[in-house]
Assembly symmetry: C2
Homo-oligomer: 345 residues x 2
C-alpha cells in the first residue's frame, strides 16, 4: 500500500513491476503484435497501476514525430479566425496531432519569433494565416524542410502550400453587386491593409470594379477601421451623420458591416431603403441579422478543415510537394442592399 506516486514512474518502473525488460514494454506500445498477449496483459496492468504516461519528448528524440502542429494567427479573438482555428483543430485532431497555437497581433516580427519557438518544439508542420510574412520567416520555413500551409488566401504562385479563397474576387463580387444595383455614391470601410493581404486584395478587387465603372470614392467616404464593431460603428457614424452621404457602403468584412448597420440604426436610417450595406465573409451570425446581411461568402470552416487535412497528410507522407487549393466563394444576396433609383427609368 505504499503510495509512491511521485517516485518517477518511467518505462523502467513499468518494466520492473511487470517483470519484463524495458524493450518489451516499449514494444508493447509500439508493436503490440510482437509481444505475447499474456505479457501484454501484465504490462497493461502495471501501466494502469502506476499511472504511467509515455514521454513524447523522449520519443521525439528518435526522429519520431512530435505529433504537434504549430499554428500562428494574427489574433484568436476574431470571429473568422476562431472559426478557422476550430475547423483546423478538429481536422488535425482526427489525424492525432496536437496544436501549438500563438497569436502575433499583426506583428510580423513576433510571428517570426513564435515560429522559431515552435521549431524548437520540433513541430511536425506549420500553419500560418495569409501570405504576408517577412522574408526571414519564409526562409526559416523553407530551410526547415517541414510541411507548411498558408491559410486564407489562394495564390497559384504561393511560396508555401495554400488553402484559401480568392480575396480579390471577393472584393470584386461585392463591388460589382453594388454597381449592378445602380449605386454610384459608395463608401468603403476596410481594415488597415498593412501586412494584411486579405484586406488588401479585397480592397483592390473592389477598387478595380469601381474604377472600371467610372466611380471614384471621395476620401471622406474611404475609411479605415480596425476589426471591431465599436470602432466600425463610430467611423460609420461620422459618414452617416452628414447630410451628403453614400447610398451604399462596402465593408471589408462582416464585423465591420455589423458596425455600420448599428450606426445606421442609431441614425434612424432604414436598411436597405436609406442605405445599402454589403459585407465580406458571411460570418456565423450574418444570415440571422435583421435584416439579413448581404455579403460574399468565404467558407471559413471548409478552408480550416481542408488546410488541416492537407497539412496532416503532407506530414504523414500521403501528400508531397506544395498543395494549392482554392475554395469557391459566392455572393449571398440577403436584405441589406437595394436597387438605387436610376435616372434612366
Amino acid at each position: 500500500m505504499t503510495d509512491n506516486k511521485l517516485n518517477k514512474v518511467d518505462i523502467f518502473a513499468v518494466a520492473k513491476r511487470a517483470k519484463v525488460s524495458i524493450s518489451t514494454v516499449s514494444r508493447s506500445f509500439n508493436h503490440p503484435e510482437l509481444v505475447n498477449p499474456a505479457t501484454r496483459k501484465k504490462i497493461d496492468a502495471a501501466v494502469r497501476k502506476l499511472g504511467y504516461i509515455r514521454n513524447r519528448a523522449a520519443q521525439t528524440m528518435h526522429g519520431i514525430r512530435s505529433g504537434t502542429i504549430g499554428l500562428v494567427v494574427p489574433t484568436i479573438d476574431h470571429a473568422i479566425f476562431a472559426e478557422v482555428i476550430q475547423a483546423f483543430s478538429d481536422s488535425v485532431d482526427d489525424h492525432g496531432f496536437t496544436i501549438l497555437i500563438a497569436s502575433h497581433g499583426y506583428d510580423l516580427q513576433r510571428e517570426y519569433s513564435v515560429l522559431r519557438k515552435f521549431l524548437e518544439h520540433r513541430v511536425d508542420g506549420l500553419a500560418l494565416i495569409g501570405e504576408d510574412h517577412s522574408e526571414e520567416t519564409y526562409s526559416l520555413i523553407e530551410r526547415q524542410g517541414i510541411p507548411a500551409v498558408s491559410i486564407w488566401n489562394y495564390n497559384a504562385a504561393s511560396r508555401l502550400s495554400c488553402v484559401g479563397a480568392d480575396n480579390t474576387k471577393a472584393g470584386w463580387l461585392a463591388a460589382q453587386h453594388l454597381v449592378d444595383l445602380g449605386h454610384r455614391d459608395i463608401g468603403l470601410m476596410f481594415p488597415t491593409a498593412t501586412d494584411n493581404d486579405r484586406a488588401r486584395d479585397r480592397r483592390n478587387g473592389a477598387q478595380s470594379v469601381l474604377s472600371g465603372a467610372g466611380i471614384s470614392v471621395p476620401p471622406q467616404w474611404d475609411i479605415e477601421s480596425p476589426y471591431s464593431i465599436a470602432e466600425a460603428k463610430d467611423a460609420a457614424l461620422k459618414i452617416l451623420e452628414n447630410t451628403h452621404r453614400p447610398t451604399a457602403i462596402l465593408c471589408g468584412n462582416d464585423v465591420l458591416a455589423l458596425g455600420v448597420l448599428y450606426a445606421a440604426r442609431r441614425c434612424n436610417l432604414r436598411i436597405p431603403d436609406d442605405l445599402s450595406v454589403i459585407g465580406i465573409g458571411d460570418f456565423k451570425g450574418s444570415k440571422d441579422m435583421e435584416p439579413g446581411l448581404t455579403t460574399v461568402r468565404l467558407p471559413a470552416r471548409k478552408i480550416g478543415r481542408l488546410a488541416g487535412e492537407h497539412l496532416s497528410r503532407s506530414i504523414i507522407g500521403e501528400l508531397s510537394g506544395p498543395q494549392r487549393i482554392t475554395c469557391d466563394i459566392e455572393l449571398i444576396v440577403r436584405n441589406t442592399c437595394q436597387r438605387q433609383g436610376v435616372d434612366t427609368d
Copy 2:
C-alpha cells in the same frame, strides 16, 4: 559554399564549426556568464551560419520544463472562449510559455483523452474551463502534481485552483433586475446545462430569485437553446409569435440574447417597449448593439489574463498551493430592459 542545410544541424555541428566542445555550446545557451565572451561570439556565429535551432525535446528529458501549457476548452469558436483564450495566451506568452490547445465539444470523455495527450507532451501546467470534469480527469491531474487551473467559475472549495466569477450571482443579478423592473411574465433561455456548470449556476441563480418573488416560469417559456444565434432566434420566434408572450426574456448569455433581439425585430416587436431582454456575459459587441444590450458583465479578458498569470507563476514556483480568485461582476444597464407597468401606480 557547400549547402549542407539538411545535414542535421545539431549541437555537435555547432561545436565542430566553432571549434569547441558541445558542453561549451550548451553552456553558452544556458549559462552564458560562464563562457568566455570571445568563445561565445564564435558560437553565435556558428549558430547563425548553420541555422541551428535548439531541440526542446532533448532538454525536456533532463527534467527541464517543456515550456508548454495545455489548454482544453469546450470549443474555440465561441465569442467568450475566444476572448478568454486570447487573454490567457497573451499572458502565458509573457512568461515564455507556449500553448497546446484542444477542444472537447462538451464531451468529458474527450476532455480526459486530450488531457492525457497533453501529459504525454509533458506540459508544465494545465488549464480547463469550468468545474464539470470527470472523476477520472480530476484524479489524473492530481496524481500528476503539475499546476492546474480551472477558468470561469469561482468556487471557494474548488478541487483545482480557479480563476473566475460567481455565475450563480450573475443569474441572480439578471433576474433581480427584471423583477425590480416589475416583470412577472418572464421567459428563460439557457444552453443545455449538462456538463456545463456555468450555465447551470446562472440558471439556478435566476430561478432562486424568481421563486423568491413568487414567479413561476411556464414550461413553454423555459427554453433550452444551443449556443448559436440562429437557433436562439428560432426558439425565441416560437415564443414571440404567440399572442400570450412574456414581457421579458432572460438569456443565459449574450449570444442567445442577440438571437432573441433578432427574433423580436422579425416579429416587429419594439425593444424595450414591447419586450425586455437581458443577457449575461457582456460580450465584445454587446454594448454596440442597437439598442445596447442590458447584461451582466463577466470580465472575460481579465479572467483569462489572471488565469494565465497565476498558472505561469505557479509553474515557475513563484506561487504555491491552490489559488482561488474571484472577479467582480456587475449589472450593466443599457437599453433593452424597461419598467413594466405596475398595477400599484
